[in-house]
């Protein structure tokens, strides 16, 4: 895998670990009244294949509460987004 230049600079500065694999990326998601995505980064959602909730690390000070959606976009591309219960933001993520 080829890392981006910014990440390799960070690697040199911080040691051997570059980054977490499949780290979430902030996304612009337009959702309907039920919280189901209609648009991801200005691309329309064709259908919601699956949705699930991940609740983890509730015993720590940084609990994880995420509503995941596996989507098919109008372009035919598959993508996974989640709504973060803590920050209220939307993110795309691979490997979910």
């Amino acid at each position: 895998m080829v890392a981006r230049s910014g990440e390799s600079r960070a690697a040199r500065a911080e040691g051997r670990v570059v980054a977490r694999f499949n780290a979430p990326r902030a996304a612009r998601v337009e959702a309907n009244a039920n919280g189901r995505p209609l648009e991801v980064n200005h691309r329309a959602v064709a259908l919601v294949r699956e949705e699930w909730r991940v609740v983890d690390r509730w015993w720590t000070e940084e609990p994880v509460v995420r509503d995941y959606f596996e989507l098919v976009l109008e372009s035919g591309e598959n993508t996974v987004v989640f709504h973060d219960g803590a920050s209220g933001g939307w993110y795309t993520q691979r490997g979910a």
Binding site: M1, S8, R12, V17, L47, D56, G76
Partner: protein, 393 residues
């Protein structure tokens, strides 16, 4: 303006098409075979006799001993809903179906065509016909349109202007909001029974008490956000069906039939080399009802074996012998939408890859080529499962 079309009790009305005389008698949609014994929608006569939708079967029969139970006919309901959506699309409305019996559409594009908002909405009702007791609400926002449709009578159009919205929503019940049952009870215990009461509370306090769902409900009680309505792409109508001379319950026979239907449907010229994204398997049951399951494939496919393998387990869910099996290719996608692997398994040329990586490393410096190291593959949080570690050798 956004318009919302609602047809309460569509499943019952579709099932009653087979026995129209029951429509005037106390009747209710029977509970699903494997589900809780709760009634579906009920007729007006049943409501007059004290039976309510969602009532327990035993309680309903005790309240109204003459209550007739109508077998659910999921395939008929889906077909009827599709006919209704087609009728609207034929009249020029680009619809966005939210669920069975609820659809949204924008009126902006057709207002000039039909001579204004109300004539356009009347045209929509006319396209559907009087059989379904459809009603339409229109407002500047989706939730407000749904609320307007919920207070409209059959065949009526209710339009809510933006400036009237807070007063219009205030006396409506909380049940319009997409909340879990426990949440309504929690709000009622706090003395909040109407949308206006919820909208009057501070948003931060609602979020703190009820979490993100509550915050969203609070936003809706204040009218909701101005989201656009996107019309659906009309579904494909490629299907294959087989009627049996007598009812069949044997799984082997059904599997063979399914294999034949998949081959037939994929060979239809209407498919035109497109891949299948979503399929539906429907059956007409010996008992008179019907059964239907839809399945979205993980990746669009035109491979008969893959579709057959994905659908076969559904046959085990059939509640009784079938007299007709039908396969529908509900959504098709262009071949360009098919995502392929970057490197086909087994075709990886390791020497060339190594050489390529060496060149990347030479041009971008140490740390630019990484390897994935699993650290907690069992984690439910995807980014905790693996790290990217520089691969310098």
């Amino acid at each position: 303006m956004i318009a919302c079309l609602t047809i309460p009790g569509l499943e019952l009305k579709a099932a009653l098409r087979r026995t129209p005389t029951l429509a005037l008698r106390p009747a209710a949609l029977a509970p699903e075979p494997q589900g809780e014994p709760l009634l579906g929608p009920v007729t007006a006569a049943a409501e007059e006799a004290g039976v309510e939708p969602g009532m327990r079967l035993g309680e309903a029969l005790a309240t109204c001993p003459s209550l007739a139970l109508v077998e659910p006919d999921a395939a008929a309901a889906e077909r009827a809903w599709e006919e209704i959506l087609h009728a609207l699309e034929d009249a020029g409305f680009s619809v966005d179906p939210a669920s069975l019996g609820v659809a949204y559409f924008e009126t902006r594009g057709v207002e000039r065509l039909y001579g204004g908002l109300e004539p356009a909405l009347r045209r929509a009702l006319g396209a559907i016909g009087t059989e379904w007791d459809a009603r339409i609400g229109a407002a500047g926002r989706r939730f407000a349109a749904l609320a307007a449709a919920s207070v409209a009578r059959p065949g009526q159009v209710v339009v809510v202007a933006d400036e009237e919205l807070p007063q219009f929503l205030a006396p409506l019940p909380l049940t319009l909001l997409p909340l879990e049952r426990g949440r309504y009870e929690e709000l009622e215990a706090l003395g909040v029974r109407k949308l206006g009461q919820l909208a009057g509370l501070p948003g931060g306090a609602v979020a703190e008490r009820l979490g993100p769902d509550g915050r969203r409900a609070w936003g809706l009680a204040r009218g909701g956000t101005a989201a656009r309505v996107r019309g659906r792409r009309p579904p494909a109508t490629v299907f294959a069906a087989l009627e049996f001379p007598e009812a069949v319950g044997n799984e082997l026979t059904l599997r063979r039939t399914l294999a034949g239907l998949v081959d037939t449907a994929l060979a239809r010229p209407e498919r035109r080399d497109r891949f299948v994204r979503k399929v539906a398997l429907a059956a007409r049951l010996e008992s008179g009802g019907s059964w239907r399951r839809t399945l979205t494939l993980r990746e669009p496919s035109g491979d008969a074996d893959r579709i057959r393998v994905a659908l076969s387990p559904r046959l085990a869910e059939l509640p009784s012998p079938v007299v007709e099996l039908r396969l529908e290719l509900v959504e098709l996608t262009e071949p360009t939408g098919h995502q392929l692997e970057l490197l086909a398994a087994g075709a990886e040329d390791r020497a060339r890859l190594k050489d390529g990586l060496r060149q990347v490393r030479a041009s971008t410096g140490s740390g630019s080529v990484c390897t994935v190291v699993e650290v907690a593959p069992w984690s439910r949080v995807p980014e905790s499962r693996a790290l990217l570690v520089p691969k310098d050798e």
